[in-house]
Amino acid sequence: MTITNDSEFKAAIAKLTKAGQRQVGARFAESVLALCKDARVKHAIATAMRADITEEELAAALDSAKKASVDSFTLCGKECDWNSQAGHFVAEAALACLKSGTTPAWDAAMHARMARTSESIATGVGTDNAEAAVQYRILAEFMKD
Amino acid sequence: MNHLDLLTFARGSALNWALIIFVAGTVLRFFEIFGLSRKTDLARPRTDSPGSGWRTMLTRSIPPQGMLKREPVTYIAGYVFHLGLFLAIFFFAPHIEFFRSITGLSWFALPSALVDASVVAAIVALAVLLAHRLNNPVKRMLSGFGDYLAWTVTLLPLLTGYMAYHHLMFEYTLMLSLHIFSVELLLVLLPFTKLFHTFSVFVSRWYNGDFFGRKGVAS
């Protein structure tokens, strides 16, 4: 199958199981992982991608993703560094796919896109929408498996 | 000078001067406060709380939620003291006569025993408040000479009044003179110490109530 826009993307995600959403969400996060230097995020994403994850592992991964997210928040009034803010959104993406939300994969995708947006703000180069296309591809491939 | 002469002086010249300083000082202090003026608030107020300033003058006497439990000594002793003092000042027959002679107004008096009890309560409350002031780290830090002075000159009229009524320490005429002198000391110091809150509390509460009221948090 091919996905060309967000409504198809959303519909496809909705068909996935909880675990499937987590795994694909983690792939979305992984796609922007280069923007994040936090080892905890990398580990959380790696855990989330696995199919054979236990409840304990899930909880531990959620915890470390959460920590990474909070640690990377830019506090009110502090000067924003968009590069590190991009890293924060990667952590948010990782956190989103591990959380028990209604649409974890969608949330992870949005955060991953924000990471790209942040990167584009930091560099001043417009690459934002490219991430959406990357995500359509990732999802399509995941669904093939 | 014998005791009756002392009493006559206390009721005469001393009282006149004390009252003059008290009245002039109070008026002066109000000028000092209101003379500084304030800018009109140009922000459109919320309309759901008219009269909040006036209401706050009274409602701020009620402890906000949770505060009574947090600081019971200050609240309870504070209430007892203020109420006791209020009853003693305004509802003891001889005192009403004093106000009548100056303002022409008079009202009902309470039986002496009741006034006596409220004075004892007020004195006890003052003692508790002093102990609290010395023991509570916040109060101790905030307190200076002015606070202990204000405490003393507030206690003295209560104490001398009680002692005069019960013929303690000195004979009545002398004690009554001392009572009046202590009131005069209080009158002279009131406008120029924190005791001025007797009046300014209503101004402060009005502003507070008005500020909050404009924002829709009326009391």
């Binding site: - | 006559t8 008026v27 000028f31 005429t173």
Partner: protein, 371 residues
């Protein structure tokens, strides 16, 4: 009273005199018992007193009257037990008293001098009236100024009893502005024991009681700081007043003829000085124990207190200011306002200067200049 007796300046014992006049021992004991009660002595003292007085020689008494109104003398003649009053006069030998003695002119003065000579160091001096220290001519007797007569007569006295508020504290003659420069006995005489029996006038039995005490013990009774016998002046009228309960309940007469006044409520608001007046009126009462001023519907005016006449208006409650008025306070407020306007003007110029000196804060200027 009895000119013959009064001329006799070497009296016998009291017991002799009593028997002479047909007074029984029982009657005399009764008198002594009453006296011990009044002087707050134990009842057992009645017998001792009777013994002492009977054996005592009749006391020579000289009574000097200066700036006075004769009210004190009027008072002492109206004791509530006339027979006992007579008794009193039988106990003593009243050798000189303007109003009561029959003699006049040189003879009268001679009687005084004679008594002073015969009983030197032993006679009792009673004084009523104040002594003018201004012009000597304000008050003199037989060409002798009151001051000179007092000083001269006091010299040989065993003790002095000052009766009435004039003699004790200067009284009404001393009232502001004190035109005669009136002073009390104690202001002049410093080397004799003085018993003050103030009151305007004093209660008759209080006067006789003091004399009895002196006769019994040959000494003066226990006195308070103002020289008054504690037995009679130890408590205030207010504390012993039968209307006191009304005061405590807050029940007061507002005028002299209102319902409350008729009900006998407290007269405090009508200016009663009972709370600061030390006297025995409320217990001893006047006119054969009939009543006392408060019982008659008028507040105590504090006549037994020094300078009572100048202690504020008679009909203003004690808790009222003596002279403060609303208009005085109005003037004070005006003065405060005037000062307030000046201070406000000054404060506003301080604030205006601060405004004028305000340099717009820019982000560069958020940094502090180092000294």
């Amino acid at each position: 009273m009895k000119p013959k007796q009064m001329m006799d300046t070497s009296p016998g014992t009291v017991g002799e005199g009593l028997r002479q006049r047909g007074v029984t021992r029982r009657e005399f004991l009764k008198f002594c018992t009453a006296m011990t009660g009044m002087l707050a002595l134990p009842p057992s003292m009645a017998k001792v007193m009777a013994e002492a007085i009977s054996k005592a020689r009749r006391q020579s008494v000289i009574w000097l009257s200066f700036q006075e109104c004769t009210g004190c003398t009027e008072s002492i003649t109206r004791s509530h037990s006339p027979t006992l009053e007579t008794l009193i006069f039988d106990l003593i030998s009243l050798d000189y008293h303007h109003t009561l003695q029959a003699a006049s002119g040189a003879a009268a003065e001679h009687a005084r001098e004679q008594a002073m000579k015969d009983n030197d160091g032993k006679y009792l001096l009673i004084v009523d009236g104040s002594i003018p220290m201004g012009n000597a001519g304000y008050s003199c007797i037989a060409g002798i100024s009151n001051y000179d007569m007092l000083v001269e007569t006091a010299k040989g006295a065993a003790a002095i009893v000052a009766v009435g508020t004039c003699a004790t504290y200067g009284g009404i003659p001393k009232a502001n502005p004190n035109p005669t420069g009136a002073v009390s006995v104690a202001d002049i005489i410093k080397d004799k024991p003085i018993i003050n029996v103030p009151g305007c006038p004093p209660i008759p039995v209080v006067m006789t009681g003091v004399l009895t005490h002196f006769l019994t013990f040959g000494s003066i009774p226990e006195l308070d700081a103002l020289g008054r016998p504690k037995a009679f002046y130890g408590e205030t009228i207010h504390d012993r007043c039968y209307r006191r309960p009304f005061y405590d309940q807050g029940k007061f007469a507002e005028t002299f003829d209102d319902e409350a006044a008729r009900k006998g409520w407290c007269l405090f608001k009508l200016g009663c000085k009972g709370p600061v007046t030390y006297n025995a009126c409320a217990t001893t009462k006047w006119n054969e124990g009939t009543s006392f001023p408060i019982e008659s519907g008028h507040g105590c005016i504090g006549c037994s207190e020094p300078n009572f006449w100048d202690a504020g208006p008679l009909y203003k409650a004690l808790s009222m200011p003596v002279s403060a008025t609303g208009s005085m306070l109005g003037a004070a407020a005006a003065a405060g306002a005037a000062a307030g306007v000046a201070v406000t003007w000054y404060n506003r110029s301080t604030k205006a200067q601060a405004k004028a000196a305000h340099a717009k804060v820019t982000v560069q200027e958020l940094t502090r200049e180092e000294k």
